[in-house]
């Protein structure tokens, strides 16, 4: 296989990074980019000159990830930034999120599309409050893989005991997490141990390097290929001579495998039909699966429009006007009692009301707080939403696309909350 061919056949892994202030997250990302040769000469020159302007005698790898003027001036990360690198095996998208307490909303944002979360722990400090919080958010957002990097091993003499202590601390509270796959790697981001290259300082570690883990972790099963969910985005009507009566439903498959001939039902109308064809620019396909973008035609001429969902008759989502969700509040302004918002769920949109606030979650311990129902920024709360029309929802744990929603303030148009459906 030529180089060109192998590049064409790469898999995409999206991961998010979380850490506390000063635990070396930016340095780690800089190290991954640098050691995988994803940093270009002119970027290097620019960072070298910034480093010396700041009076540093080494190249500050962290500067590769600081983008905005204020961030460079203050040495902090303000907003989610996306980074890209590739190895011959995979292409990676990093959602780099700030670790400060007030920026939980950024972490939720970065985690929402990630297959994997990288959690950094300072080997000297061990598992701290922020480690727990980041891990809980990863779990809440149903990220299937967690890689815990125990960093700054150089500052604990690369000692196995220090590593084992952190692993055991982490495992103690990890039983509360809903993450099926957790791994540990002892690293030094500053010196590069076990990041891309195997460390000679830690012969006792027989596991994989961080990059090798990222390159090989099995992600093909992360998507739902069982439950067919097709939210309709728009109707394609060419009105041309060649496609005079063509009526196709465009959308991205949110779950399951679809084939021509399949019996389907359209929600909310409840009309049954069969898939006539699944069309793409390259021609019709025999089957299609998540996350493909396709256009579907049906055997029967029924009314289907944006916001509708095409599913199998024997496997349907919940159809309900009362949606129980875990909300992450993202806005400075908390909701008034029985406040109304716009809700967006798949391609569907409506008004909704926060009918009931059930409890808040202490993000450090996962305990329920039932006597304080005042919601403010970064709170995780369990609420019941009421919509004027039925929505078609799945549990977020079953499907991240049909189980997620956002709330929008009707006055300011800001996105104020992210919700995960949990019955």
């Amino acid at each position: 296989m030529s180089d060109t061919q192998s590049y064409l056949d790469m898999q995409l892994l999206r991961f998010t990074t979380a850490g506390s202030v000063d635990d070396g997250k930016s340095t780690l990302i800089g190290r991954l980019l640098f050691d995988s040769k994803s940093i270009f000469e002119d970027q290097m020159e620019s960072v070298e000159s910034s480093s010396s302007k700041r009076g540093l005698d080494h190249v500050d790898l962290a500067l590769f990830t600081d983008g905005l003027k204020d961030e460079r001036e203050q040495g902090i990360t303000i907003d989610v930034a996306y980074r890209y690198f590739a190895t011959p095996k995979r292409k990676f998208i990093i959602a780099d999120t700030p670790g400060h307490i007030q920026y939980t909303r950024n972490m939720v944002t970065g985690a929402s599309t990630a297959n994997l979360a990288l959690i950094l722990v300072d080997a000297r400090k061990g598992v701290i409050e922020q480690t727990c919080r980041h891990s809980f958010i990863a779990s809440l957002l149903q990220i299937p893989h967690l890689v815990v990097c125990i960093n700054k091993m150089d500052l604990v003499d690369y000692a196995e005991e220090a590593y084992q202590k952190v692993v055991s601390e982490f495992e103690d509270f990890a039983s509360k997490l809903e993450v099926p796959d957790i791994r540990f790697v002892p690293i030094s981001a500053l010196h590069g141990d076990n990041v891309v290259n195997r460390s000679e300082n830690m012969p006792w570690y027989h596991g994989e390097t961080l990059l090798h883990t990222l390159e090989t972790i099995h992600i093909s099963s992360d998507l739902d290929h069982v439950n067919v969910r097709f939210p309709v985005q728009t109707v394609i009507r060419p009105h041309s001579d060649e496609y005079h009566d063509y009526r196709g439903y465009a959308g991205r498959i949110a779950g399951g495998i679809m084939k021509p001939g399949d019996e389907v039902v359209v929600l909310p109308s409840g009309f049954n039909s069969q898939i006539k064809s699944i069309d793409t620019f390259e021609g019709p396909v025999k089957e299609a699966f998540a996350p493909m973008s396709v256009t579907i035609t049906l055997e029967d001429d029924i009314d289907v429009s944006r916001g509708d969902m095409i599913v199998r008759p024997n496997n349907q989502p919940q159809v309900t006007q009362d949606i129980d969700v875990m909300l992450c509040w993202l806005n400075n302004k908390g909701p008034q009692p029985r406040a109304k918002y716009l809700v967006q769920h798949t391609t569907n949109e409506a008004r909704c009301m926060i009918k009931e606030i059930l409890y808040k979650v202490d993000i450090n311990s996962l305990h329920r707080i039932e006597d304080d129902k005042e919601i403010s920024m970064n709170d995780i709360v369990r609420v019941r939403l009421r919509t004027p029309n039925p929505f078609f929802v799945d549990e977020y744990a079953e499907n991240r696309h049909t189980g997620s929603l956002i709330l929008i303030d009707e006055g300011t148009h800001e996105t104020v909350a992210a919700g995960m459906v949990k019955f």
């Binding site: 898999q11 620019f281 996350p291």
Partner: protein, 300 residues
Amino acid sequence: MRYTLNHLKELEAESIFVMREVFAKFDNPVILFSGGKDSIVLTHLARKAFWPARVPIPLMHVDTGHNFPETIAFRDKLVEKMGVKLIVGSVQESINKGRVAEEKGKNASRNALQTTTLLDTIEEHHIDAAMGGARRDEEKARAKERFFSHRDDFGQWDPKNQRPELWYLFNGKMQMGEHFRVFPISNWTEMDVWQYILQEQIEIPSLYIAHEREVVRRNDTWLPVSDYIQLEEGEKTETKKIRFRTLGDITITGGVESDADTLEKIVEEVAAARQTERGNRADDKRGETAMEDRKRQGYF
């Protein structure tokens, strides 16, 4: 049958999803077309997104008047092939009307002037969403962009106050007079774009392919000789085999020496490159946060 997509197919599916969302959510969207490879990929994706219908979204070109002639010829041919409407905003007209003043000096360019023309054209045509081919890997300020990027009624970007963007639920709500910039290929890298052009055999302007050209050495790059640049004392023109990694104005876009005269060779060259593609763009060299500063004001 393996139920996985390779990275190009996954990126393609994501971009098509975004473009369809734009079509469904906005009344008057356009695709910003520069004649560069990224906007060409965008038009290719648009054809896929709405097939078998014609692309229902016009192209909009901000014409600085300092184009490579190849760019305009390519644009007109593409518009005809796609059967779409073309909206042109002219920087020359903005200058004539006194909206902006031409820069002076040997490094003068019309790059910064484009912002005014772009915003005026958006306003004149009541455009509520302008899709662009910007990618997050291009530049550090762009790494912070959303897919749906809100612009206030002055067309400005407020990077510290962006709406959180979760899953694939895009918030396209705005007040009268505001608009959105949408970046469907946010997650693509330069390498992805070239791989995709190769895989799909997408037609691109010959400027990207290595060719003999009259050039002058200035600011560590090979600037093409044209009516719009004045030679300084001591500068001499040479003929070199070069190609362009990005296409902007003819006055600011430097070429690199290259023998890559096929798509395959370009992909190999990109894979081996030690400089970012914007390294030859004079517009990005005007300070450490040049792109952020321009973007805040409403630049592409």
